[in-house]
Symmetry: C4
Amino acid sequence: MQSESPPEPNRENEPLKERLWRIIFLSDTSGAKAFDVVLLWLIAGSILVVMLETVKSVEVFHRELLKGFEWLFTILFTIEYSLRMWVVRKKRRYALSFFGIVDLLSILPTYLEIFLTGSGHLIVIRVLRLLRMFRILKMGHHMSEADFLVSALKASRSKIAVFLFAVMAIVSIEGTLMYLIEGGREGTGFTSIPQSMYWGIVTITTVGYGDIAPVTVIGKILASVMMLTGFAIIAVPTGIVGAEIFKELSPVKMDGRKCANCQHLGHDPCASFCKSCGSRLPGPTDSA
Amino acid sequence: MQSESPPEPNRENEPLKERLWRIIFLSDTSGAKAFDVVLLWLIAGSILVVMLETVKSVEVFHRELLKGFEWLFTILFTIEYSLRMWVVRKKRRYALSFFGIVDLLSILPTYLEIFLTGSGHLIVIRVLRLLRMFRILKMGHHMSEADFLVSALKASRSKIAVFLFAVMAIVSIEGTLMYLIEGGREGTGFTSIPQSMYWGIVTITTVGYGDIAPVTVIGKILASVMMLTGFAIIAVPTGIVGAEIFKELSPVKMDGRKCANCQHLGHDPCASFCKSCGSRLPGPTDSA
Amino acid sequence: MQSESPPEPNRENEPLKERLWRIIFLSDTSGAKAFDVVLLWLIAGSILVVMLETVKSVEVFHRELLKGFEWLFTILFTIEYSLRMWVVRKKRRYALSFFGIVDLLSILPTYLEIFLTGSGHLIVIRVLRLLRMFRILKMGHHMSEADFLVSALKASRSKIAVFLFAVMAIVSIEGTLMYLIEGGREGTGFTSIPQSMYWGIVTITTVGYGDIAPVTVIGKILASVMMLTGFAIIAVPTGIVGAEIFKELSPVKMDGRKCANCQHLGHDPCASFCKSCGSRLPGPTDSA
Amino acid sequence: MQSESPPEPNRENEPLKERLWRIIFLSDTSGAKAFDVVLLWLIAGSILVVMLETVKSVEVFHRELLKGFEWLFTILFTIEYSLRMWVVRKKRRYALSFFGIVDLLSILPTYLEIFLTGSGHLIVIRVLRLLRMFRILKMGHHMSEADFLVSALKASRSKIAVFLFAVMAIVSIEGTLMYLIEGGREGTGFTSIPQSMYWGIVTITTVGYGDIAPVTVIGKILASVMMLTGFAIIAVPTGIVGAEIFKELSPVKMDGRKCANCQHLGHDPCASFCKSCGSRLPGPTDSA
């Protein structure tokens, strides 16, 4: 098995296991791409079946059909899991990896349901059934276009965390004040501080269900102030993520050049001298 | 008909058909512009009539008037369609083009209604009547200012597709969890996973109708997390489209020049040398 | 009255009329600034009185007090209007200007109410009373900080118009489809196309009152598509206005230099040659 | 006590009071950091207790437990407050500072409740109890990551104030019009101008509770116009704050250099000559 290094060009003599590994885990050959597309459709189909099972009108009339499809998808995913376990070299590492566990959880529930048909296990069965919904995470195997989105969110992660903490602090104080103002009355939704905070989040994010709404004059004034505050604050994450995406999409990237004298990073592409200490920067050819 | 090439200056000797073609299909003469404006008003009027026909209080008292206007607009649009068919050279290509079909669908329903006055065709009639609403698409003939909007959305199309897919994945998982938490209770709106996903979309887009809202404590906590997540995620499309529009509106466009030496794309307009390899770039006059 | 030119420095010998004109119409002396501040507070107070008059619980118990304040404000504004008419030179031009009409409408309603105490004029009285609310526009006399906001909105005016037209077209088509799907049913809010379009606007702007909401499966799917579309489209005005404000706030303005050869406008500050035709641009000193 | 200057390196001989001051008020040693972390958790715990006390189902069954925790936190915060008062040099200045008052208010309510157990002081007790909620502000002692957020909001403060004033003016006029149109009818929520303005704020911020919604045709048209306006206006704070954050995050800062000849401000970092008058700019080293 000395020919196992991936960049090897002549694949004619590859053993079956090796070729399957290429098809299942990589996406560089036409066979591997076809496998990816087929699997994506299978996942989408299996998710649709789980969804429809929860719709009463559909479930009553097409129970057998859904059951059949469910078993079809389960068997296909079982074959896929078995193949993955067979062809992968570090079996244990795969089995304990995130996608390994997701792949296992995609097939286990259907088998477990056979043993749990007693009436006492209804909730367990429902949880198991819905666990199959997480097959959607299997799609992560086959998606690489979402990288820019992930990197933009990652870059602004710590700033969004601070922002969310600030929002929670505002919501806590506002929720407490609203509970104080509206709390004592009958027929109001502000029955406790956590409930008032839930209302605060519904309001500051501009969702506004309307299941809880202020009824007193002072409560309405406070709510108005909070909405207008939220209106200004909503601009903060937009600014953060927007700036990151703008940098991501912009064709002019900042220089990666570092000043040899003062270690300053991030120079303008047309700068010849460090803007922080004035010493000569390395030429543009050096940063390629 | 050798004078049919459009840039011909002397239009005095043009035959009627040629002159009509100019007026109907182009917008470069005062006659053609007047035709465009009249047609835009006719379309707006005909749409208004279709709308008012659906309002019961108006329809009962002004049925004859609306009927009259409807036939007036239909006859005018029929004349327009006939003229277009007469003057256009590639008749078949126009008839099967997008706007050709829209133009035909704008007149057909009114005529078809004559044959469908029986009581059994009520739904067909209603669909036909509303089909005339799509005359709004005829306006596309006469709009060119919306180009910047279309190009900004087109440029960010693939990124928005990835973003919408990510939102759907989040909504699927959240909807499943909410169905699990809230689903078993009486009087709750979370009756199935698709229903929960509908609630998830209503929530994450901050629309928040309030027809479905969580009632349990865990459900409310999960919904709060989802709203705050949506609050951060709403910044993503804003960042994407905003960055594209900013580029579109910005007077400083990035160069489309490519370095002949290292193939680096995206130079500053004031750069004379490639910032990646230092070789001379083609002059700005070459990229005009 | 040859000393009436404003930049005259010695104001000691100015007649009263001249000095009042300075105080009332300009804001460059301490007296004029004090006048502005007092007037702003009077306007705010008079608006508060109009508002409180509509609140039943307040109006019943404090009718006389509100009446008194109303007459106080009306007399003060009458004095202000008389002074303005006296000191201004082009009396007719002021009387017919926007702020001249607003100033007159701020005092007329209270006087007219004396003659309209008959029971038959109730609606006219209410309209007149509320007309005084527009005194808020008088504040426009005294606000100059909002210029950046106005200029940012003005610069993006035509683009926002195109955007709003596109939104209306989408809402028309969506509203028609929703009326088709949900319209026939009992208990649904989609009773006509205009009503469905109202729902469409409530939905696409993410306001989401919940007074009208889809109840059928297809209606919910269509509404979901519309919400997600709106989620992407909401980024468009943000991008447009955001880009304008960014340019407004940015310390680096684009050059106002115009190429003498090809009339190209909007060069990079560091460009020496026209990027469109290559001819030499005027030096930076020329554009000061 | 001549060794009290903070940058002194040898802390071995420091008296206890000095060392405690370091731990409590600074964050530069491992002991001080541990103190910060412990205090953050104590604050979070005490807030949770105050919240849970307002939830009836929890309070009824775990009253004693919550009472116990409440006293535990109060005693710990009392010790903290005493230590702070002991180690700080300018005792009076700390006691009257913002955080000094917050620290005192965090412990007082629990003690005051002992004397206010009579049935006549129920509201006072509730207010006192909830006052402890503001312990969340104590977290401000220990947070420094939120600086970028504060500075971005501060930089756009005056612009946001102008924006909020403009929104209030729009809401006043819209609210008055809606009261005029919808006010006379039965069963409508527009009972007064302030109420209509509350609805206006709920609508323009796209919160949309739905507790008040227009019912007349003209009211719905006006509300639609308002929503679409708000849709365009929501972009304004996003643009303002977004631009500030973008500048904050951007590696390329605009120059603060001012031309000595013509006072022009805001040069490109790579400019060596003033773009307005052509005279030599101070070198980049001068602006460091």
